[in-house]
């Protein structure tokens, strides 16, 4: 009975330790991953039904769609079978590494033994040369040359009429691939930590508004649920983001509140975030965005604790939660404030915050301006010559102002934010259109990932491991020095044999350099004219 148990265990172990499994898992992961790049993940059903209709026809597409949903294809990288494949992959990787590490370790630690000259001559890398010198000089110089290439000759053996030197280096490079495997496991651990303790949400924050929560992805909510969610968010705002106060104001326990938060995809931040403004900078004369920027302020305990302008690639992090600039857009039906900077000819400046229809006086003059029109993207139609609004987004905002001046009478002009020269009036005073504030929202990606440091460390480890595994090798070499005499002349025959775990050509060149260095020194040592 006892024996049978071990066999079952052995069988399971052998199953996971087999490279055939590795190959099957690689093929399975690679081929199934393709599905998720074709079928749009976590998308609206209509998107994918439309895609499927192209392949299966309109009538069968919904059926195929339902089958795909059952198979988890619509969110396949999180489906039970894909996750199982990843688990299988890691178990296989760990057990294979455990299985093979002792063998590799023995190769690393194995002391080198002297070899028979005939064996040396059969090694993959070999080299022979003869130098006119004494055995001792040759030995000293070869040793010096070897150590300058960081081959430490720990052992030499004297044979009849010959000396054998042998050395190895880079044995530890055989461990490089285990380092790579380790880093993959670290990445998995980091990913699990992130999935378990982190979150990934979003927040669309209009200019001038604040929030003490972020949204997570949820199942579609019913209308009643949506209403309750709105109400909860309002009460949470009035409780200044304090979760226990929110529960109290709602008259429910905190556990129930937490459950509701979870259901409605609300993630309390523990502080309040305000968007002061959002701005898109454009490359001059084009509609190509150069930078998206939002000024964010963090409020905690009624105090401003942090203020930062974020850009794409430059997020803000507070208490482990990071806010990324990810999108932007217009707030539906929003009424904003026109921010104008007015400068008279005398140099008097004034910044004005105005609503639509409001009037203002240009300082030092009797000219009155009234805001009468606005376009988020003003352009002149090249065919008709008429002014048109070519986008709903604030690509090229312009404000229409009606002026009433005792000298010039009434006239209307468009002032464009991106073209300050449009704001120069006939009398030389200037109006700068700074912003139509409060109508845009900044789209923030909000996330916390405590596992990301694992990922960073694992990345460095993986890079080192890959470098060692692919660009360094374990090299062994044996050198036999045999004195030869032919008549009067005394010379030493040097026979080198070696092997490298990879990159044999580079090893060959290294041996050539070692020998030529030794022989050059020997040639230099020889007294001139002795020949």
């Amino acid at each position: 009975m006892e024996k049978e148990k071990t066999t079952i265990f052995d069988k399971i172990w052998d199953f996971f330790a087999s490279v055939r499994l590795t190959i099957v898992v690689f093929i399975a992961l690679a081929s199934t991953s393709i599905i998720g790049t074709i079928v749009e993940q976590r998308a609206e059903p209509a998107t994918n039904i439309k895609l499927l209709a192209k392949f299966f026809g309109d009538s069968t597409a919904p059926t195929v769609y339902n089958i795909f949903v059952k198979l988890g294809f619509m969110d396949m990288y999180h489906s039970w079978w894909f996750v199982s494949l990843l688990i299988l992959f890691s178990v296989n990787l760990i057990i294979c590494s455990i299985e093979r590490l002792p063998k590799t370790w023995r190769l690393v630690k194995m002391p080198l033994r002297p070899l028979n000259e005939n064996v040396i001559k059969t090694l993959p890398v070999k080299k022979e040369m003869s130098i006119k010198t004494s055995l001792n000089t040759a030995k000293d110089e070869v040793l010096k040359s070897l150590s300058s290439y960081r081959y430490h000759v720990l052992a030499e053996s004297a044979e009849e009429n010959a000396v054998q030197l042998y050395s190895q280096k880079g044995g530890y490079t055989r461990l490089g691939l285990y380092v790579v495997h380790l880093s993959i496991i670290l990445i998995f651990i980091g990913a699990i930590i992130g999935a378990r303790f982190g979150f990934n949400g979003y927040l669309n924050l209009p200019e001038g508004m604040s929030a003490s929560y972020a949204f997570l992805r949820t199942e579609p909510l019913s209308q009643a649920e949506q209403a309750e969610r709105e109400q909860m968010l309002d009460i949470m705002e009035s409780s200044q983001g304090d979760v226990s106060l929110t529960a109290k104001n709602l008259g429910i326990t905190q556990d129930i509140l937490d459950a509701k938060f979870k259901k409605y995809g609300i993630k309390p931040l523990g502080f309040t975030i305000i968007c002061n403004w959002f701005n898109t900078e454009y490359y001059s004369q084009t509609d190509m965005p150069q930078e998206f920027q939002s000024e964010l302020v963090i409020i905690e305990n009624d105090r401003e604790v942090l203020k930062k302008v974020i850009e794409v690639n430059h997020p803000l992090t507070y208490k482990g939660i990071t806010f990324y600039q990810s999108s932007y857009g217009m707030v539906p039906n929003a009424v904003g404030t026109f921010v104008l900077k007015v400068r008279s000819t005398t140099g008097a400046e004034e910044t004005l915050n105005l609503k639509f229809g409001q009037s203002f006086m240009i300082p030092g003059t009797n000219t009155r301006g009234t805001i009468v029109d606005f376009s988020p993207a003003l352009a002149r139609d090249p065919n008709t010559g008429k002014l048109i609004t070519y986008s709903e987004n604030m690509v090229n905002p312009a404000v229409g102002i009606e002026f009433d001046s005792p000298n010039a009478g009434r006239f209307t002009g468009w002032i464009l934010k991106r073209y300050p020269e449009t704001g120069v009036l006939p009398d030389g005073s200037q109006i700068k259109f700074l912003d139509y504030w409060g109508v845009e929202y900044t789209g923030l990606q909000v996330s916390r990932d405590p596992g990301v440091w694992f990922i960073y460390v694992a990345s460095v480890i993986m890079a080192i491991g890959l470098y060692v595994a692919f660009f360094m090798s374990h090299k062994k070499l044996w050198i036999i020095l045999r004195p030869e005499t032919s008549g009067e002349k005394v010379s030493v025959r040097i026979t080198v044999g070696g092997s490298a775990s990879k990159n044999r050509l580079a090893f060959e060149r290294e041996i050539e350099r070692i020998l030529s260095k030794a022989s050059r020194t020997i040639e230099g040592l020889r007294p001139v004219g002795r020949e």
């Binding site: 790049t37 990324y324 990301v452």
Partner: protein
């Protein structure tokens, strides 16, 4: 002279080089071989100059819009690796670089006949795509120090995989004996598809007006043949393609004879096939996957979002990891690993171009 002049010179030199490499294989004259190498080196130097000029120009372009940038920052933002055009140009440069290194290392010119067509295909693709050859402003998402290193290493990796692919195809051609062998059919189809796409893109190029070429490549890619609005043309394209593959299958053994008569050995091809992967795999994993993930984390807040580009890079890594494990642990050799090396490069092409042309995702700027 301008950057594009130097680039056109280099493109001409490469395409001429391809012809000369192929005639070297056919005539086996040493002087022809030297001419092929010289042309390629000349093209490479010319392209390097073009690359530097473009970098300098886009450095000034960047400074014009962001005068407050530091020297290093401007240099990094100005690296001409920002869109499909620039990346294809850099791919050609990397491919030729890796090829020249291999040629000098293995002292064998014949591989040029297999690598230069890949470069020619990329060059033709550049011309057909015709998109955004002028220096463009850098969109916000790409304004990161990671851009240069991420793209640089990924593309050196792609190029190494490309050389490995060339060697693997040559290897498969040399080791197949009869027309009924599965591997023989496999290579004749692969080489056939490769050449058909090349020809179809040539037809695109000839049949399209300059205006149409200004559109996104997705809109006109293979529009003159397989994706034509006329059903007749589509049918003819398919029939012609099948006939073409048949011709390659019928006369393909001749190629084997030519290769066998050269100083190419299957051992050498196997080694180049492996070397390309041994260089490409770490470069691509570090530069493409790792750096890409770190950059994604700082730009999008997630180091991995299963975006199609990311997923296809991972698939590429899986295929090459499979190659390495099959070869070193399971002891696979010969045809089986060569087929993996070819499959690997097909995933590379899809990672690089297919994702941008066919699928959508966060990496969409690679397609314009």
């Amino acid at each position: 002279m301008s950057s594009s002049t130097f680039f056109n010179i280099s493109a001409g030199a490469y395409i001429l080089g391809m012809v000369v490499y192929i005639s070297y294989i056919a005539f086996r004259n040493k002087n022809i071989g030297i001419a092929a190498t010289s042309l390629t080196i000349f093209g490479f130097v010319s392209q390097s100059i073009a690359f530097i000029i473009r970098w300098v120009n886009s450095y000034h372009f960047w400074l014009a819009s962001r005068p407050e940038s530091t020297f290093i920052e401007s240099l990094l933002r100005a690296a001409p690796l920002r869109n499909l055009y620039e990346s294809l140009v850099f791919f050609v440069w990397s491919l030729i670089l890796v090829h020249l290194i291999m040629e000098f290392k293995y002292k064998n010119r014949s591989l040029g006949a297999f690598v230069t067509p890949v470069a020619a295909l990329a060059l033709l693709f550049i011309d057909v795509s015709g998109t955004a050859k002028e220096i463009q402003p850098l969109i916000p998402a790409l304004q990161s120090n990671w851009l240069l290193f991420h793209v640089l290493l990924s593309f050196l990796g792609y190029a190494a995989f490309g050389v490995s692919f060339g060697a693997a195809v040559a290897y498969i051609i040399m080791v197949t004996e009869t027309k009924t062998e599965k591997t023989y059919i496999f290579w004749s189809i692969i080489v056939g598809i490769f050449l058909i796409v090349l020809i179809a893109m040539g037809i695109d190029f000839l049949s399209l007006t300059a205006v149409e070429r200004k559109e996104l490549i997705q809109n006109y890619f293979l529009k003159a043949t397989f994706r034509s609005s006329s059903g007749g043309i589509v049918a003819v394209s398919w029939v012609a393609s099948i006939a073409f593959i048949f011709v390659i299958w019928r006369y393909g053994l001749g190629l084997k004879k030519i290769l066998a008569s050269l100083s190419i050995t299957t051992n050498m091809l196997e080694e180049i096939e492996y070397k390309g992967i041994a260089i490409g795999f770490p470069l691509f994993t570090i530069g493409g996957l790792i750096m890409g993930a770190i950059w994604a984390n700082s730009a999008w807040g997630r180091y991995w979002s299963w975006d199609p580009k990311e997923t296809w890079s991972l698939i590429t890594c899986f295929v090459y990891a499979l190659y390495l494990h099959a070869r070193f642990v399971s002891g696979w050799r010969g045809k089986r690993v060569a087929i993996l090396a070819i499959t690997g490069f097909i995933t590379v092409i899809f990672t690089y171009l297919g994702v941008n042309l066919v699928l959508s995702g966060l990496h969409a700027y690679g397609g314009t």
